[in-house]
């Protein structure tokens, strides 16, 4: 009897060990703000990634070169800061041995992460508006940007505004006093001036919640237009609310974000007439399946419009791995660069661009929308595509 038990035990071990080798775990790192004013965006990274991972898992895993891998997310909070990004990257790369990272979203964090990831040959698919995320001496060998930045949507949006509101003369730009604001504000200033605007600008310490004195200062400049630009959803919403409470009557819009749903939630009726960049059109029939899957998992709360973008970026990464047939980051990187035309299902065929602006074609050129808040709901004013240069 004992010899039969031993035989049974041995067979069981062989069986389970065999199954363990059939599907290996593939860790995918995630970095984003999961606390503070940028939390809505960090959750967009997390949930977008998770949806792509769940889809791959449901399909039985990702087949890469004869093996099947089950992706697993390992995500850390960077608190939207450079130090937070650096710590998260160190943990992912050195402790968790991750070779692929999705995120971060804020420029200070991305710029910090790539100082760790590039020497380690770790592939990073990020956001962040600072041009030197891609434009640097190393020519960004291992980082890609999978969302539009100011350089992609800024010129088209400002031109659209000038065409639709020819009477506007002066614009105010208030932004955070860090890598984001310090890179975005000069860019936007150049686009506005090229379209005949006068520009007034001011920076504040990130984390501030009280903007009324700065807004009083802004209103003394007799501006027609207030651009919330690169401000995180929490700060953008408070700025809009406090500007309206302070009596500002001009248009408020955001060439950046997007933060529309959070602004409607926090500013309420004061958000009426707010115009913004939006990075996804949820009314599109293609979006229904995505929205249904999201709601089934996370309920009826706000879906930040960046979520589909991160889902898209993660799916593109998985496809590049599959085509490379290998998890070597150089091979996956090469496959990513050749991925033009692949459609992950929400944004149409992938297009890489950015050579003229950054010296490398690692910028995903994505369709975007301009939306307006009317009676608490979003209406689409225009759909635009960045120019591939």
């Amino acid at each position: 009897m004992f010899s039969r038990l031993k035989l049974f035990a041995m067979l069981s071990i062989l069986l389970f060990n065999g199954n363990a080798f059939a599907q290996e775990e593939l860790k995918i790192g995630g970095i984003g703000p999961l606390s503070g004013g940028g939390t809505a965006w960090g959750l967009a990274v997390q949930r977008g990634m998770q949806m792509a991972i769940d889809e791959a898992t449901k399909a039985g895993g990702i087949k890469i070169g004869g093996k099947t891998y089950l992706p697993k997310m390992v995500m850390y909070d960077d608190q939207y800061t450079a130090a937070g990004g650096r710590t998260a990257a160190d943990r992912l790369i050195n402790a968790d041995k991750v070779k692929f990272i999705i995120g971060p979203i804020g420029s200070p964090s991305v710029l910090s992460v790539i100082t760790v990831s590039t020497p380690a040959n770790v592939l990073v698919l990020s956001n962040g508006y600072a041009p030197n995320i891609l434009k640097n001496d190393a020519k960004s060998p291992f980082n890609f940007r999978v969302m539009n930045s100011n350089v992609e949507f800024g010129p088209a949006m400002v031109k659209w505004y000038r065409q639709n509101y020819p009477q506007a003369k002066k614009v105010a730009l208030i932004g955070p006093n860090d890598a984001v604001g310090q890179s975005v504000i000069p860019q936007l200033e150049a686009y506005y001036k090229a379209n005949g605007f006068d520009v007034w600008k001011e920076l504040y310490d990130r984390g501030s919640k009280e903007f009324t004195p700065l807004l009083t200062r802004m209103m003394a400049q007799n501006v027609d237009l207030f651009d919330l630009n690169s401000n995180a959803p929490g700060e953008a919403a408070l700025m809009l609310k406090q500007a309206r409470q302070a009596g500002f009557k001009g248009m408020i819009w955001q060439v950046g974000g997007p933060s529309v749903d959070e602004i409607i939630d926090i500013a309420g009726p004061l958000a009426e007439g707010f115009v913004s960049l939006n990075v996804f059109d949820f009314s599109n029939p293609q979006a229904k399946s995505f929205v249904d899957t999201y709601r089934a998992k996370w309920g009826d709360g706000v879906i930040n419009a960046q979520t589909p973008g991160w889902y898209n970026g993660t799916k593109i990464l998985f496809e590049a791995m599959r085509r490379a047939g290998n998890l070597d980051t150089v091979k996956v990187r090469d496959a990513l660069e050749k991925l033009e035309g692949y459609d992950a299902g929400l944004f149409g065929p992938a297009v890489w661009g950015g050579m003229a602006d950054y010296g490398v074609n690692h910028q995903l050129m994505m369709k975007f929308w301009i939306v307006e808040v009317k009676n608490g709901k979003l209406i689409t004013r225009a759909a635009l595509t960045p120019e591939k240069k």
């Binding site: 809505a40 004195p213 408070l238 302070a246 939630d265």
Partner: protein, 288 residues
């Protein structure tokens, strides 16, 4: 730029900021003044006050005056458990209290993250109108905050100067041993001071969350403001907290309006540093 309407608006903004800062600092300085405890969990209690108001006024639609007072009383009452389990071990132990209560702060904040997630929420405003007076704009919700701050300050002043318990509180703050020999139940007084301090903190947090936004991490800023105000005014001094709040609020308003945010931060923190060098006990505090 230096026109009468702008100057007037800067004054109104300063008044509103000062009201928030005074409220935020009162509970913090009271705990230090009576029990010599540096409450690094101050922000966490403010945050809990915000969530209590969110449910009372935002979800259950309790009338606002009852919601704002009732929710703060609830937090203060429930916090007596923490007084017994945590705070009592740190009375008159300033340095140990800093570390211990920092840990308590993290425990409360991350428990809140688990319960409520990290998303920022908004609490409906108590009043949504905007008054225009002589070219100045006064949002009515800020007027409500100014009114509540003045009422709380007045009520607290009456309590400590006109009631027996208030007198006992002041005696205990001066010398706990002598107060005990005079028949004052110092354990009860400590509990009472704790209750009043947390009530004021929760109230400040509720109004802060209503003015800005509510999240488990919203307490960081009130804690920093409380520290600065209390250092300016003098640790343990209630009039000092009021003066510090007013100075910080008005300086931030005027400097930001006329010179920008960077100048405002530089001057505000520069003054605090200078004060710590030349008068470390603050404007109305007592040298140790």
């Amino acid at each position: 730029m230096f026109s009468a309407p702008i100057l007037g608006q800067a004054f109104v903004n300063g008044l509103s900021l000062s009201a928030i800062y005074v409220l935020v600092a009162l509970g913090f300085t009271l705990l230090f003044g009576i029990m010599r405890v540096v409450n690094f969990a101050h922000g966490a209690f403010a945050m809990l006050g915000g969530y209590a108001l969110f449910y009372a006024y935002g979800s259950f639609k309790v009338p606002y005056p009852i919601a704002v007072i009732g929710s703060s009383l609830l937090i203060a009452t429930v916090s007596l458990i923490l007084e017994r389990l945590v705070f009592r071990w740190f009375y008159n132990k300033m340095f140990q209290s800093m570390i211990g209560l920092m840990g308590l702060n993290m425990a409360i904040v991350y428990t809140s993250v688990v319960i409520w997630d990290v998303n920022e929420r908004s609490i409906p405003a108590a009043a949504s109108g905007i008054l225009q007076v002589a070219g100045m704009t006064l949002p009515t919700d800020r007027l409500v905050i100014i009114g509540i701050a003045l009422t709380v300050l007045a009520a607290f002043w009456l309590f400590v100067t006109r009631t027996k318990s208030g007198l006992a509180l002041r005696a205990t703050a001066q010398d706990v041993e002598i107060a005990a020999t005079q028949g004052i139940d110092t354990i009860f007084i400590y509990k009472l001071a704790f209750f009043v301090a947390i009530f004021m903190t929760a109230l400040a947090g509720a109004l802060y969350a209503q003015t800005y936004a509510l999240s488990p991490f919203m307490g960081d800023r009130p804690l920093m403001v409380a520290f600065i105000v209390v250092i300016l005014g003098g640790m343990g001094s209630i009039p000092g907290a009021a003066l510090g709040g007013v100075l910080l609020g008005f300086s931030e308003s005027f400097l930001s309006t006329f010179y920008g945010a960077a100048v405002s931060s530089f001057v505000s923190f520069g003054v605090v540093v200078a004060l710590l060098v030349f008068r470390p006990w603050g404007l109305l505090g007592k040298p140790e």
